[in-house]
Structure formats: structure tokens, C-alpha cells
Symmetry: D2
Subunit: 437 residues, 4 copies
């Protein structure tokens, strides 16, 4: 391959909200300081190698649709290297300095595990070199433990012990590679860690295995001196009927039960949130208040659709709520916003890849600006503070200190009589929120 991969595409710059240029940022201004931090440091955007460079457009009822000019149709190492270069040029033009990858995204399988690992090493060397030239680093790496037929019953939760072992070998390598490349986090998305039917499943045994596997991952991470944050990425189902890390709360229950809470945080993916019946904001808040918010896979689903659509988030209200959690959390570092989002199958122009990412980045940037407006205005925060002020009292403090025994409280009630309960002011809260959009 000679020359640029994206010759028609300029460096994407910030042009402001009045710009009509699809290949420019209207809201995301990397160096601009909002609420005390540069936008780029609030966001820490990341390109997902798999969707962006391995997404073919195939769906359960359709063959691949993409025919990117740099692809030669093979799965060779040479093609893998070319692809890696295209990827770095993409990130540079976009102005993004982080990327996420699965081991099997970036390098082809070999005939044996040794061959596969050797291929991986070769591509990783190229990535290391390109990273050096560009100051780009992985936000996180992960192992692809769901594609290969050997993982069809699970990886760490496979009933086959040899598959468990294979997954362990794969994660070992992926941890090493992520560490080597300076990745700041490492993710576990258990796409096959679940069941299709309870009729043939020993759920307890599988969960126990998942726990030992993750503990071994923690041990190995420490052994190799990798300090990245380990992240669990919940999803309720698909491709399984039930994925064990159903949502944030379920993952939290699991981590506590097996004594893994100190070692893991959560990577919340918005489309996964809505598939599990929660708003993305809810999942972020649940993670945040439990000190578990580690990363956000920034995408969105379709409210009328019951599968993972992995669309780029373009809803301003949703982005504003998402950013409100991020700001409350003080940011996401060492995590960030990974675009685990893909072009629509029907989007086949090269410029579409840029437009999609610009849209996703601008939407979140807009959300951040809106959060700043809300904080500056202060009315919504005040509405909430007032709502709980009855607990900022002596009796409230007593209760919150764990000293509100039932007998004491009953006496109080007989004293006070029927309590007055003020309006929840939800309509006013919604009005205040909307005024910032």
C-alpha cells in the first residue's frame, strides 16, 4: 500500500457549533477547559479496532457489505500490518490518542497456539513502533474468547477443562501484550460466559470456575507487574440466553461473593445497559456509587430493538446524563470512552467512519458542556439537596450512624404524628434539566 489510507479526509478540527462541515467537530474542542479539565482529559476517547477495522457489515441475515480500499480480502500478516497502519492514520486524523483491541482483531490465527502467539507478537511490535511515533497508547486490551468454536459453551465457564485452560493461555498472552503496549486497563467481556438453557447447565460450578479464572488473572497481572485496571464488562445476554455478568449489580454481587472487589472495576456499555432493562445513566450511577466505575463503552441501542445495535450515541439528553455521572466521578481515568460502536451495515463510504466517530465524540462533548451549564446554574442540584434536607438533622444523623433503632423511632412518630410529604417536583426537575440542552 502506497501513501495515505484516507487521502480524501483532512485532520478533523474543531470548528464550533455553527459549522456545517461533517468532517469537523462542532462541540468537541480537545484543549478547551470545562469544569477544570481539558475536554480531552474528561473524555479520553478511544477507537475500537474491531468495529472500525474488522467490521464487515455482516449480520445474521446478511453477507459483508464493506469493501474498504485498503483491504485485500486475505487474513494474512501483511494485511494485518497494513490494517494497523491504516488504524493509526485514522486515529491521528481524528485526533484520538487511545485505542482498544482484542488479541484476535489485530493478528490472524495460526495453526497452533504458538503460531498464533507468534503472529500476535509480530503485529504488536508494529503497533509498539507506531505508538512510539504518534504518542498513542491502548486504553485497554482484551482477549477474544467468544468467536472461536472451541468457546461455544463458554471460555472460563466451559464445561470442558481443556477449553478453560486454553482461555487461560489466551488471557495470559493478552495481558502480556496489553502490558507491553502500555495499556492502562484490561477488559473481560464474557460473551460466552453464560448459558443457553439451564437444562444442561451447572450454574454454580460455572460461576465458581469464572471466579477462579478471574483470580488467576489477577495473580498473573501482579506477577508480570501490570498495573492496569481490570474491568468486567456486563451484558445481559446475546449471544447467550443469560450472561453471568448480567448488569452492574449482578457483576458486583459476583465480585463480592468471590472476594474480587478490590481488583476489578466495571466497564459500562450503554447498549448493554438498556438491554438489561436499565438506562445507561442508571448503570453508571450504580457503578459510581459503589466505586466501580472504570470505563464507558460509548454507544447506544435502539429503544424498539431487542439486540445489540452498537450505534454511535447521538442523543443529547442521554449524553448529558452520561456526562453527569462522569463528572460526579471526577472523570474516568485511567479508563475512558471507548467507541464500541459500529457503522450501520448500510454505511459503506470511507467518510462514514469519520462522520460516525465525529458524531459520537461531539455528542458526548455536547453533553459535557450541558453538564457544566447545569452545575453553573445550580438549580437542579439545589432541588435535590432540598429534597433530602430533613435527613440533615439530628435524628437524620442518628439514623445514618446506624443508631435509629425501632423503639426510638416509634417514640418519635407518636410525638410527631402524620408526616407532611412535599411534592417530588419531577416535572420541574425535567424542565431544569432540559433547559441545559
Amino acid at each position: 500500500w502506497e501513501g495515505e489510507f484516507f487521502p480524501g479526509i483532512p485532520k478533523i478540527n474543531y470548528e464550533g457549533p455553527t459549522s456545517k462541515n461533517p468532517l469537523a467537530y462542532k462541540w468537541y474542542n480537545a484543549e478547551e477547559v470545562i469544569l477544570g479539565k481539558k475536554m480531552k482529559d474528561w473524555m479520553r476517547f478511544s477507537v475500537a479496532f474491531w468495529h472500525t477495522f474488522r467490521g464487515t457489515g455482516a449480520d445474521p441475515f446478511g453477507a459483508p457489505t464493506k469493501a474498504w480500499p485498503w483491504e485485500d480480502g486475505t487474513n494474512s500478516l501483511a494485511m494485518a500490518k497494513r490494517r494497523m497502519r491504516a488504524h493509526f492514520e485514522f486515529m491521528e486524523k481524528l485526533g484520538v490518542d487511545k485505542w482498544c483491541f482484542h488479541d484476535r482483531d489485530i493478528a490472524p490465527d495460526g495453526k497452533t497456539l504458538e503460531e498464533t502467539n507468534a503472529n500476535l507478537d509480530e503485529i504488536v511490535e508494529l503497533a509498539k513502533q507506531l505508538q512510539g511515533e504518534t504518542n498513542i497508547k491502548p486504553l485497554w486490551g482484551t482477549a477474544q474468547l467468544f468467536m472461536h468454536p472451541r468457546y461455544m459453551h463458554g471460555a472460563a465457564t466451559s464445561p470442558e477443562v481443556k477449553v478453560y485452560a486454553y482461555a487461560a493461555a489466551q488471557v495470559k498472552k493478552a495481558l502480556e501484550v496489553t502490558h507491553y503496549l502500555g495499556g492502562e486497563n484490561y477488559v473481560f467481556w464474557g460473551g460466552r460466559e453464560g448459558y443457553q438453557t439451564l437444562l444442561n447447565t451447572d450454574m454454580k460450578r460455572e460461576l465458581d470456575h469464572l471466579a477462579t479464572f478471574l483470580q488467576a488473572a489477577v495473580d498473573y497481572k501482579k506477577k508480570i507487574g501490570f498495573n492496569g485496571t481490570l474491568l468486567i464488562e456486563p451484558k445481559p445476554q446475546e449471544p447467550t440466553k443469560h450472561q453471568y455478568d448480567w448488569d452492574v449489580a449482578t457483576a458486583f454481587a459476583f465480585l463480592q461473593k468471590y472476594g474480587l472487589t478490590g481488583e476489578f472495576k466495571i466497564n459500562v456499555e450503554c447498549n448493554h445497559a438498556t438491554l438489561s432493562g436499565h438506562s445507561c445513566h442508571h448503570e453508571l450511577e450504580t457503578a459510581r456509587i459503589n466505586g466501580l466505575l472504570g470505563n464507558i463503552d460509548a454507544n447506544t441501542g435502539d429503544p424498539q430493538v431487542g439486540w445489540d445495535t452498537d450505534q454511535f450515541m447521538t442523543d443529547i439528553a442521554e449524553a448529558t446524563l452520561v456526562m453527569s455521572s462522569v463528572v460526579k466521578n471526577g472523570g474516568l481515568a485511567p479508563g475512558g470512552f471507548n467507541f464500541d460502536a459500529k457503522l450501520r451495515r448500510e454505511s459503506t463510504d470511507v467518510e462514514d467512519i469519520f462522520i460516525a466517530h465525529i458524531s459520537g465524540m461531539d455528542t458526548l462533548a455536547r453533553g459535557l458542556r450541558n453538564v457544566a451549564k447545569l452545575i453553573e446554574d445550580g438549580s437542579l442540584d439545589e432541588l435535590v439537596r432540598k429534597r433530602y434536607q430533613s435527613f440533615d438533622s439530628e435524628i437524620g444523623a442518628l439514623i445514618e450512624a446506624g443508631k435509629g433503632d425501632f423503639e426510638t423511632l416509634e417514640k418519635k412518630v407518636l410525638e410527631w404524628g402524620e408526616p407532611t410529604v412535599p411534592s417530588g417536583k419531577q416535572e420541574l426537575a425535567e424542565m431544569l434539566f432540559q433547559s441545559a440542552l
Copy 2:
């Protein structure tokens, strides 16, 4: 009121599967021994006072439809007593010796908490007397912390400290009353413990309050010498947009976080399970494998409907799966099967109340008989055992002992090469399961 409440209804007896009598059991034979236990001891059926005797047929779009002959249209103490007598006659004819109740089901509110408590005491005395005459006892009692307008923002999770205190007083009394009546368990269903919008909610503070409240309940239970099991009853939503005890796993995360695991078990309600996106069987298994299965509210939902329909369970496959969990759990005692199920709004004949309960009881009994067939046949259990047998090996034992470090496993993989992975045999499992129905 003179004479019987259900003059047209005989004692419901077991007549066997060929009976065409709607007022007889076709499958439930209380004294029959299945898998080493009498059916009545596997089931421990309970009548829910609220649906059966306080259900009016009202729905969000419709006025009450029931006009039971024993109701006089008032909410007086006299009516409450009459109702209690009708309830006991109902249970005797049905052959059920347990009941569940909310404090506010059985006695009317007074103008003050003292009056209300006095009313409650009076009805409780009558219940105590009737229990003595019939050998009937409460399976569990609970406080109704969702009906009254004071609880509109929550009870233990209300932003109003005086409401928190009121709820505490109410639970104090309800624990006392349940204990006094010899109830074997006590339930917390947090219908208003959740939020309608995160915009006006401090979720962390509310969850902390819920925890202190439950801890205080534990303390008081011990203080009064009540040994019943405390049960959390999850539900994902309705009437809230998000109820904090969303499902079994979420409740488990909460209990662990606040150090309450040893003090609580879970009451799984089937319709709540499906509303949270899980099969009832899944929720039962999740509870069971974590040692949390305490009770089952036996009802079912409608797969095309997104709200709580509280129908009596008539699906034999579902009942068989439910009973398989119960049998694996060794039964539910001191919990049981409570019929938190209501007649359809359009069912207005007195005999309908009996038919509904007979249907619900017979369906579960049928499920139990099917489980016995499956266990006796043994093929399904064998299919599952075989599926995991690779872990009944030396390397499997190593892994399960927490000694399967990644380096050791990688060496093994390089030795073994590509693992063979057998068919999951789901279709065969489904065929075997169905053969027992």
C-alpha cells in the same frame, strides 16, 4: 353474618387426574409421599390475604368489580373480623394451613398510629383465636409500606426522615404481630423503595438508608426473640421506575455490601422474575446456589405483557422447572409457596376463588410429580453430569482448588493442542425434559 361464607363449596379433596370436578384436586394429594416428603411438606401452600380477601378487581382503568356476599361495603372493624372468619373458612375448605398478610390488609387504619395499632391488635386476637381452632399459622407477615400517600417517595428510602421513622414504627409493630401469631418468616417487599427519576434522587443515600433500616429490623427481631426468617422480595419496578431490589442478584449485591447476608433470604416471585428479564427458574437457581432461597410467591406473568399480572401459575413446564429448584434445595421450609396471585378482574363468582387456587396448587403438584419422574429416569441428570466430567479430573481439581495459575495452564495447552468440544445436546435435553410432562 350467619352460617357459612362458602355454602356452595365443599371441602376440596383429591380426586386424581381423571376427575372433571373443578372443585377437586387432580394432582395435589397432601398426604402422598413424593421423593421422601409429603406433598404438603414440599409445598407448604399459603393463601395471600390481600389478593384473596382485599382484591376488589380495580385496575388503572377500571373500578372494582367484585361484590363478595360477605362484604358490607365498609372498612369497619366488624367487617374486618367477618372477613377474617371468611378467610379461615376458605383455608379450611381448601385444605391449606398457612396464610400471609400485610398489617394493613387485616385491620383498618385509625386516625392516629395508636388507633391503627389498636385496630390491628383486635384483629390479631381474632386471628390468634381462629388459628388455635384450626392449626393454621402465618407463613409470613409484612408491613404495607407502599399504599399510603406518606410513602409516595419511599418508606425506608423516603427523602423525608419522618416517613422513615413512621415506616420503622410500622415494621416494629408488624414484626411483633407476626411473631405473636407464630409466623415463620417476615417479608420486605420494597414497592416504593426505588426511584421514578434519577434527576431528583440521591441513590446512594437512599440505599444507605435502606440498609440501616433493615439492620434495625434485624436488631429488633432479635430483641423480641422472633426467630422467623427475614425475606427480601425482589421486583424490578412497578410502581417505581426502578426498584432497588431489582432481582435476586441485585438484592444479593446489596446484602453483601451492607453485611446483611446472614440475616436475610429471598422470596422469589415468578412474575417479578420475568419482569426483570429472567425466567422464574433462573431466579430460583440464582437464589438457591447462593443459599438464599427462602420462599416462593407462586404466580406467573404474561409473556406479552410488561406489568405485574399476578396470575395463578398454570404452565406445567414452568411449574416443573420451579419444583426442580425446590427439590434441589431440599424444600423451602420454613418458607413455602404463597399464592401472591389474584383472580382476573373479570372473574366475579365465589367459586372462581376456589378454582383459581386449586389450579395453582394442582399445577405445582403436577410439577413436583414430573420432577420425581425426571429424577427416577435419571437421563437428564446424567446428560448434565457427563457434560462437566472433564472437570472431575486431576487438572480440574487443581483449578477448582484455586491452583490453576495461568502459566501452568498455558503449558498444558501447548501439550494438549486444540481441544475437542462435544455437542451441548440442548435438543436432547429438551426432549428428555418434555418426556416427563
Copy 3:
């Protein structure tokens, strides 16, 4: 009752987007001309008497919460008259000149149908008088055929012929009353026209009855010289398991089958749309392209909730899409936007009623302004036009004229070879759309 009903509330005026006054319009400026029509004529806003003045806050798990100062706790005619006055003062302050009502909202039941009709007549006279003083008129009236226990199996679809007849008598009166008050439309929402289970339902017979009923309504409307548009309001379920007018398409199939298409249009309610699995925009477009769009009940649901929440619409993107259909339709007249939306149960301040309506009105107004921006910019329309331009050709015209027989087309294909298919540009379309928000 002496003096004003809403003494603390001023006339709600337009103050523009920078206003922080919750009791002012930020976007809705009634007299401002957008796209050639005054905002008030695009919107034709209407207050729903039932939610606004009969909504108590009761839900399936909770008692009423509202305690409006003008309510005396009775269901007397005097209270009904007072309520009607409060309603007119509300509309005047809000600056809305249309209202919608059910017959049973505005006047109490009597002991017989004659008494009930007499009560209705009395209140209607008062309404007529108040309308005269204020220039307010009903957008539409309707009969409440779902509350009363007699309608529990259906009204026009009841298996009981006497109930069918009763419903006919009720609709007869409601048509007369709506006509008398100058209502511009009349609505049929079949809350009980459906089934709870097919096991006891003769669906064909019930649908045939629904058709004869609606035809009789058409006949009577003509007889009394009422020229208002008859509107079917679809909803998929709730309170039924399946409501016959499931969605716009289902209603359309029904109207065509029974030859009623010329006589009815559709009243699309956004929360009903999403409950049936469609976006509101989809339902509006389906109605519009079939010439059926007659009215919009402007509310929204909650994407994580499976029942009718009837919230005021505050989502700007949704409102923009809704308004795009309205603009394409040339407006809704003689229909309009009725706020079939209710305060949250927990919202109990009088000012909340105003805030809620202002929010709902402002959101739609914002949507209209955004649509004007999109039209003026023209890029999105151009993207769509280009997408279909291959059909603006000779062969396209042939096909659209119904002359594209398969043999002719096959010849063409063998000529042309493999077609080029351009990108769908969905990401660009979303970016263009969002730029107007």
C-alpha cells in the same frame, strides 16, 4: 368557592429561551409565525380534563396523593361545577383554548342512565356558558367505556348484548354533548375492546360487533348533523392483554375490512406507540401516509417501563420528529395536540400542574422550531431525495405506473449487470438531524 382557583399562578406568557421562570414559556410563542402558520395553529393545544382535574395519583399499589384545594372530597354536582370552573381558569392562565373530556369525567353517575344523563346535561350547560365567556371549545369529547364494571368484558365487544346496548346509549349521548359544545372531533379509545385470554374469546364475533357499533356511531353522527372527525385511538394493551386497535396499522386493517376508512381518522398517542413496539414518529408517519392522521395525544412513555406512564413529553429529539410529521401533514386541524399526560403521582403542588403543561408545550414548540431549521437548511431533505433519485427515471416511472413486469425487468438486469448500491448515510443523516436540536 370564592375567588381564583390558582391565586399564586400568573397568566403564563412567553419569555424566550433565556428565561429561568418555570411559570413562563421559553419556546412556545402562540402568535409567532413559523413555516407560514402561527404556533398556536400548528399546535392547537388541548387540556385533558381527566388527568388534569380527575387524576388522583392512585396507582395499582398506591392510594390517591393529590389534595387539590378546590376539591371537597365528594362526587356531587356542585363539586363537578366547581371543578369545571377551575378547569376554565386553568386553561385561560395557560393560554390554551381547547379541552378534551370523557362524559364521566365532567359529571357524576346517577342511579339510572336518565339521572346520569341529566347530571351530564347540567354540567354541559355550565361548560357551554364558560366556553362562551372564554372562546374555548372542545378539541374532542369521548365516552368513558372502560371504568364501570359493566364494561369489564368490553363495551362494543362485550359478550353481553345488554352491555353493547348500554355503550351505544352512552356514545349516543356523548356524541350529542360533544356536538352541542362545538367539539371538532370525537374519539374512540377501546380500553376494554380486546381480550384477556383467547381461551374464552370469540375474536371474530367481537370484531364484527365492534364494526357494527362504529358504523352505528357514524350513522348517528350524521343523523344529528355533527361534522366532527371520528377518531380511533390505538393502544396495544392495558388494561386488556390485547386491545383490538393494537396500533395504527392494525386499526387501518380493521377500518378497511369493515368499509369504515372514509369515516375515521386516527388519534396517535405517543406512549401507546412505544408500547406497541414502534417509535411515535413511526406511528405518525404510518397514519400520515395513509391519510389517517387526525390528532396527537402528546405524551411519552419510559423506555424501561412496560406500562402506560402518560408522562409529559420533554425529549427534544422525539418532539422534533413528531413535529416533522405534523408539518409534512400540513398540520393536524381539525385535530390538535391533546395533553393526555398526567402529573407524576409524587407531584402534589398546584404549580406542578402548570409546570408540567408548560414543559410539554415548550418541548413541542421547540420541536417545531427545530423542524423549521431543518427545512430551511435543506440538507436532510436533499440526502433523502438523492437516495431515491434512481426511481426518478424512465424505468422508475414505468415501475411506479405498475408496468414493471418481471420479464421486462429481467431483460434490463441482464443488460445492466450487478448494480452499484451507495451508502445509506445514516450517520450523516443523524448528524444533520442533531445539528437542528
Copy 4:
């Protein structure tokens, strides 16, 4: 390939309900007469070539898992012929004499349409020959208008006129081939006839195009003297966000609008029904009462899963309801039951293909036997008859004749007073239904 394709599998015979042989029918006895017709004539079972012989086990997150011994890994004509032979041996062993296919299932694409058609002709000749030897015929054929990238925006609803033409050419050929092979029906499943977003869609124009396309199909069918029934197969979505043939009612609205009702019937697929929010029974009844029930694709979905799982139906209650519609319809001929169902991805044994089909066939057979029991018992039918008997009266007849004008009915109501409304007996109906299972 030498010898049998399924050497380990015997001819599947009927062994009765006590058999424990997974490779035998327990309920389906082809020659047994139930309700006046042989079971094989009620069922008219068909094997779906695509799932059974082209299903690889690939899913959105996983590579193919199946490695059938007869597959050589190529997509050659020779492989296609071998596959066809395997298919016929499969059907003979199963005892099924019908099959369904897409054009692109049975023969590989060529470089041009001519080549592709030539390949198709070659395989069709082989099929014709094998059919002759076995008395097997296609239940229906169809064209695959969703896989190829050219159809990514639609086939008949593509914005590209050349794609519309290509689809026409493909359907022309598929009609010819189906006719040539003696197929009794022809199906249109519009997998890509819908939209992903309304932002870039002219829905009206696309629907008009779909109508002209189907009309041209009708014209061509008549031209070539093909008398098979044309069938529309609804599905709400997937792969589209909204498929135009959303459900039976939507398809019916479309057919009526474009004057196509006399030319098409509906192929109801159970998993599609539940994805559109209806029970399968509901969709069958909706089709039946409108004279549209033409075929059933017999599969089922998963109630907790929002995508098409295409499982074999094993739920006895569901099968009983399905068969009740079929019996009421007098059977499905010339349609039948096609197993549009696939093995689970994790099921990789050859015997699994047989077990799955046996399960599916036995379940429906069991349903038919249950329906016979219900009809013979007659109680459920009587419950329904009684429910509507008030309409079997003079006034009922008047109403049903369209002569129940509102004035006449009002007079009646004033005469009758408040109607008595009996219980709906839903619990009894459910008990009666369950007694047949």
C-alpha cells in the same frame, strides 16, 4: 461421497409415548387418524433446507461450529449436489415428504445472473429427479432477497431501481423453479423490506414499490400457470429496525390497501409473532378469521430474548393452542408446517438434527392429540358458547345484521336498566385447557 449420509440413524418410526428412544416418534404417528384426518395430513411437515443443510452455527459473535461429515468446505456445484442428496436421505429417514428452500440455499452464486441461474437449473434438475424417486415435493420455494449486499437497503423496497429490477429477476426465476418442482406455495419474507431509520427513508414510496412488485409477482405467477398460493411472511424487525410486514394485521392492512387480498395468504412464524408482541396463537387466529392462514413456520422464540432464536417448538401448551387454530381452520393445505427452526449453535452431533426435528414434530403431534381431547370433552367450547349466548337473541341478531342503531338501543337500555355481567371464568377456562395437556 459413497454410501449413506446418515449411517448411524435408522428410519424414524412411531414407538408411542412410553418409548425412551430419542430417535423415534413418541406422539407423531403419520397414518393415525385424529379428528377425521391422518396426522400427516393435518401436519404436512416440511424440512427447511437452509437451517438444516446451510446452517453453520455462526452468530453475530461467533464463527461457524458445525462440521458435518458430508461438507467439503467449498461452495461448488458438486458440493451442492451432494448436499441435496443428503437432504433427501434426511427427509426419507425422518418420514417427511415436503421441503422448503430459498433459491440461493440450493445452488451457488455465479459471476453473473446467467451463471447463477444456470447453477440453479442444474441443482433443480437433481432435485426433480430425487423428488421423482421419493414422492417428495416442495411445500414452498422462495427467493433469498436479504443476504447479498446489493439488497442492503431493501430488495423490492430498495431506493435503487436497479436493485428492484434485480430482485424482480430473481423472483421470476424462483417462481419458475418452484413451479417446475411442483411446489404448492411460494413465500415472500421481506427481511430487508423495511427501514433502519426514518431519517433517510421515504416510507410511502417504498411501500408503493413493494405493492407494485407483489402485483407483478402475481401477474407473472398467472402467466406461467403456477397455481401455488403466494404467502407473505410477517416479521416485525431484524435485520431491519422496522419490517413493513410487521405482523399479520399490518400485512393485512397492506394487502387491502393495494388490492392484493385475494392473491395472498399469510405464513405465520411463531417466533416472529412473539417478537411482534403477540402470542403465536393470536397471530394464527388473526390470520384465520380473516381467511388468510396459509402456512405455519413452526418454531418458537425465547420469552427472555429479543431476537429470532428459531428454536424447535417444545412447549406443549403452545403447540396445543397452535393446533387448535389449525383444526378450526380445517387444516393448512396447501400450506403446512415448515420447520423454520435451527439446531442450537452448540449442537454439533449429526443425531442432533434428527432429535431436533423429532422433538418439533412430536410436540405438534401432542398438541393435535390434546386438541382432540378438548373437542371431545367439549367443556371449553361450551364455556365460550355460553359466554356469547346473549347475542343469540332477537336483539343480538338485529345488531349483527347492522340494524342496531343508537336510538333503538338507547330505548332498550332505558327499559332494561343496569345489565348483569357474569364472570369471565378465565381460571376455569385455563383449568379446562390444562386438563387436556
